[in-house]
Amino acid sequence: MADTVHNSIRTGHKTWLTLKMREMMEAWLFVSPTFIGFLLFFLGPLCAVVYYSMTEWNLLSQQATFVGLANFQNALLENPDFWLVVRNSVIFAIGLVPLNMALALALALALSRPFFGVVFFRTVFFAPVITSAIAWAIVWKFLLQGEGGFINQVLALVGITGPNWLREPSWAMAAVIVTRVIKMVGLNMILYIAALQAIPRDYEEAARLEGASRRQIFSMITWPLLAPTTLVIMVITTIGSFKVFDHIYQMTGGGPENGTLVLAFYIYQQGFKFFNVGYASALAMIMFVMIMALTLVQVMLRRKGSE
């Protein structure tokens, strides 16, 4: 290969073009695995899901009929399950995102500076992040058992009869949200720690010399400087909450009384349990649009912020 480069340099004038073309071909060789994978496992399937979403297709019948927007009409206007699922997903996000972010910020503020034991605490709060969601959900499912579950056993010691956490609609959603926050908060915590450590110490020291209180330093300096990170974390966490699947699958299976039936789980249920391929694809498209909208909001807010 090196020889040809030298040869083309020697032949002069014409070689500039060939060198450039050569570089281009090499570059495409470098990106070709990624590109082929992208076409095969992403762009192709994405086009297919758009088409599927406009068909009436039950896997058992083996025959797809084109029905236009009927699946969307069914989801948005006729099927009450759909709005229940959207409602559940929104409740899940509204419960999870603020709790996760507030806790992550509090932990980050406590752990962003070195002190004795700081590494221990960071390690502890991050440990659930690397644990499989299934394993985490299995353990919490047992801890939250109605009769004989550890939490209720402890509550019984102080004379409280705990509810059957995962079997009562009002408690199940809260239980899933809280256990999910404990699992995932470590990730946001370290993103906040990284952002806090990037803030120059001089700012805070200057403010302290001016006589600013802790609270003032936080609200006037730290919080505004964290704004871009907060925004990114908010969008990542919201998208993550719309995608939650394994946690729900293991802890409640969408129950009780569909109380924790969220969008990703509903898509799985329709597509792979009831084999309603067309309807499930329409749901997937709706999820796609929701996540796209969230991402665009993030980009817009970011642009506004940097002006």
Binding site: M1, A2, E23, M24, A27, W28, F30, V31, T34, F35, F38, L40, F41, F42, L43, G44, P45, L46, V49, Y52, L107, A110, F115, G117, V119, F121, R122, T123, V124, F125, F126, A127, P128, I130, T131, S132, A133, I134, I138, V139, W140, F142, G148, Q153, V154, I182, G186, I190, L191, A195, K243, F245, D246, Y249, A264, V277, S281, M285, M287, F288
Partner: protein
């Protein structure tokens, strides 16, 4: 009180508050291991942290109830293959996107960014039909191909690109002067310098594959092919009720090794996530 004493008091209160906050993060692991040794009656009896009777046979039954050793091995080798493939593919593409000029680069970037925004759940149905068409259902191929080329692989590519962008150009030029081809420059100069990024991608990819659930659930049906998360949720009796003590023993076996590795390399692991989260 002197200022120093105030400070010590303040620190102590903080530490105690943090220790209390840490309970829901640590306790599930402790309880999981402890319950893995208990009998079902003891799990649901009066709470004990240390089992009254140590049922070691739980850990034997885990392996006889379903081919757990095989399933363990499946998870391990799939995670290793996915990690190796992702490293090669993402560092090749990341290098080209950072360091080479080529027609279509801008469009490709746009494509990849759009792929980042679309979760696997959206394309999983057509991917299922694609794999069925290839005859790959109930094999490990979907579990290797989809994570490698999916949004996670794209994120790895961006992470590599970001890292290659920051490397000094001079070294590469020196390499070219010495007669290295593009491929040679990538292999002998760029990759060795990108070790921190490669380490971050490895760690995140390994854990991602190890914990993957949706794809195994959809693509696998025979017990011998199962991966760990799927196997864990499969410890049920013939009525579909969980075999509590076996399930917790198996979960301990699946989680504890990863936790030990994490405790040894916690700094590196946490930094990898920080790097990918901030950049990606």
């Amino acid at each position: 009180m002197t200022q120093r004493q105030v400070q010590i008091l303040y620190r102590t209160c903080w530490t105690i508050a943090l220790l209390i906050a840490a309970i829901p993060f640590v306790f599930p692991f402790v309880w999981m291991v402890s319950a893995g040794f208990k009998s079902v009656t003891e799990i649901f009896g009066a709470p004990t942290l240390i089992p009254r009777v140590w049922r070691w046979q739980n850990f034997v039954e885990v392996f006889t109830y379903q081919p757990f050793a095989r399933q363990y091995f499946n998870s391990l080798y799939i995670a290793i293959v996915v990690t190796a493939l992702t490293l090669v593919i993402s560092s090749l593409a990341g290098y080209a996107l950072a360091r080479m000029r080529f027609a279509g680069a801008g469009l490709l970037m746009l494509f990849l960014i759009s792929a980042l925004m679309v979760p696997e759940e959206v394309t999983i149905i057509p991917n299922f039909f694609l794999m069925r068409w290839f005859g790959l259902v109930d094999t490990h191929w979907p579990l290797i191909l989809l994570p490698t080329f999916g949004p996670h692989g794209v994120m790895a590519t961006f992470l590599m690109r970001q890292y290659f962008l920051a490397l000094p150009k001079e070294l590469e030029e020196a390499g070219k002067m010495d007669g290295l081809s593009r491929f040679g420059v990538w292999w002998k100069i760029a990759l060795p310098m990108a070790r921190p990024a490669l380490a971050a991608v490895s760690i995140i990819t390994f854990l991602f594959s190890w914990n993957l659930f949706l794809e195994p659930l959809i693509f696998l049906s025979s017990l011998d092919m199962f991966t760990l998360p799927l196997a864990l949720s499969n410890f049920n009796d013939s009525y579909g009720l969980p075999l509590w003590n076996l399930q917790l023993a198996a979960t301990s076996l699946a989680v504890v090794p990863i936790l030990i590795v994490y405790l040894i390399a916690q700094r590196q692991i946490i930094e990898s996530f920080a790097l990918s989260g901030v950049k990606g």
